[in-house]
Symmetry: C2
Subunit: 363 residues, 2 copies
């Protein structure tokens, strides 16, 4: 292998591929990038068995070839180089890297043991705008379960329906739901939240092609492909949770509500339950919390349609959802102290649902 | 106690006092601020027994008093408040905090068990510019020893001499030395590096009054006083290390030298020794390092006066000193492969000395 490559372009590609390198891999060869050169294209491949990333860029390739090089060290070196151009050549399993007055010689490995790229039969194939996919991930993936004993809920459910794709994440305490307007055939896939979070860091605003099979998903841009394994199992019947009926609608300023909840949770977090109580009256929300060290009471002006409600929440679950919203005012849909609260913003394609905490004293 | 206070000014004062709150205090009362109000002045005191900070600000005090309040929670609340003015009142050991539509009630403690401010006889009393003291701390405190079995070397030695104050830190591998031009009587103090690092975060550019006794130091600005215990014991005879003689002077561009060393240490750190070799010739430095995974060679142009030298260092110690320097070019004073390297910048009041690593193969 013998090539010349632009340093800053190469550093960007290396940073993308590095997202699939696990810091605690038990498979030695997967601590490395597979680096291939042919036809003036350099390809980097990295995998942690769950996620595989392939990214490509142009280079002046005088002699093709392939090699596996330690990803962390190689990445650090490329990032620390200062010139415009890097000369890279490989002789046997020895790599020579030159940039201005720096010369590195690195011992590498042959690609013989590096896993092949996943291959699979594609059942669904559609295209999304980068910013649309990023928003759907950002507004749902935080709500997945961290409980590894029920793995399906550590993923985001992509439900391909007539009215678009539903992105759904839930953990038994709250649910985040986003519809993306795209036409596909019916189907579904549960994508590990970790894979989506890495995808989020890689994506720009370019179009993303999504391909799904029974066990794998593939997200492709012009230069980069992320492959991820899927989670298998049945997802929760989330649609039953989304009721259109409610007794009380509260409209409240987003930032004031969030700031008051954040202050109230300073005390709520002193106890383990993170408990905040909310009393809705016709023109204000009273948020309160008690712990051994003290009490807090916050008043937030609001516009209420419907009957007064008293309800309690784990403040963490309420805040997680409110923090990622963007509109200036929020609408809360409430029924009573034991049914879920649904939070909506201006964009009606999104909703966040939180289950209340039942209080012994309530009656 | 009953007072009105500006929120953002109070938040700043709280952040300063919080620097003396230890996250792992075993003395329950020291998890709190002592808060005093009298004569339209609010005083906050915090202590971890080694460091004590007292800071003051104006307020409208309707009724004086004192109380101890949990520092972490109080700090979080003050920071999260959004209005201009905070109303604070204390009834017994219950504090009421109001800011706009937020009301907190906090259970507090009486000040009976809170330690008194240190009192001591002052042996030395002088004033330094804030930026001068900050520079002296920043350029020396990083070089102290982390070895708690020889506590004197975990501090910065302030040696009060005829030609000014010498700030000295050393750990057996390197020494940082800075002279500050101020007239005082002879004396000395060893100040814990941790205390100086907290002082660094508190100080602005205002003048600082320094008062020393046998066991304590006191650093005062208009609003804030930091008291610290001193380390007792004999410091090293550091002046014997600062030789004026050398065989070779190398002048090198600061940023190029640093970048090359940083790249070389990517390989050096793969082995535990962090070893980099430097070969000085008439017009270039060759920096090299080897590890099992590879080799690196860096060439840096330089201007050399004197004979060629081959020498090896732990790259961490070399880089620590070079990183904090400011001038565009550096001068290295070398004698041979076994004597220390002294690094100087334009400002001749500072020097950094690093001991070489002796190589078995050198002859």
């Amino acid at each position: 292998m013998k090539l010349k490559i632009n340093r800053s372009e190469f550093a960007k590609a290396v940073a993308i591929a590095q997202r699939a390198i696990s810091s605690r891999s038990t498979i030695q060869i997967l601590e490395g990038f597979c680096l291939k050169a042919a036809d003036n294209i350099v390809t980097l491949i990295a995998s942690d068995t769950e996620i595989t990333i392939k990214t490509q860029l142009s280079a002046i390739v005088d002699e093709g070839g392939d090699i596996v090089v330690n990803a962390r060290l190689f990445g650090d070196i490329i990032r620390k180089f200062q010139g415009d151009t890097i000369d890279l050549s490989v002789n046997g399993t020895t790599m020579l890297l030159k940039c201005e007055q720096s010369t590195f010689t690195l011992q590498c490995q042959s690609t013989d043991e590096f896993p092949l790229l996943p291959s699979f039969e594609i059942d669904h194939d559609f295209t999304l705008e980068g910013h649309t996919l990023k928003e759907a991930i950002r507004k749902t993936s935080f709500a997945v379960s961290l409980d590894e004993t029920r793995p399906v809920f550590t993923g985001v459910f992509m439900d391909l329906k007539n009215d678009g794709i539903h992105f759904v994440a839930l953990d038994g305490f709250r649910m985040a739901f986003k519809t993306v307007d795209v036409t596909t055939e019916d189907g579904s896939a549960i994508i590990p939240a970790r894979s989506l979070n890495e995808l989020l860091k890689i994506l720009g605003d370019e179009q993303v092609r999504v391909q799904l099979s029974k066990n794998m998903a593939m997200f492709s841009t012009d230069t980069t492909v992320l492959y991820t394994t899927l989670l298998s199992g049945d997802f929760f019947n989330y649609e039953a949770l989304i009721t259109k009926e409610y007794a009380t609608e509260v409209e409240v300023d987003h930032r004031s509500f969030q700031a008051s909840l954040e202050r109230a949770s300073l005390l709520a977090k002193e106890d383990r339950a993170n408990l905040v109580k909310i009393e809705v009256s016709s023109d204000q929300l009273k948020i309160s919390s008690n712990s051994e060290i003290g009490n807090v009471e916050e008043l937030v002006p609001c516009t209420t349609i419907g009957k007064p409600v008293r309800i309690a929440f784990n403040s963490k679950y309420l805040l997680d959802g409110i923090k990622i919203l963007e509109s200036e005012s929020l609408k809360l849909h409430l029924t009573d102290s034991v049914n879920p609260c649904i939070i909506r913003e201006d964009d009606l394609s999104y909703l966040y649902l939180v289950l209340p905490v039942r209080l012994a004293e309530q009656g």
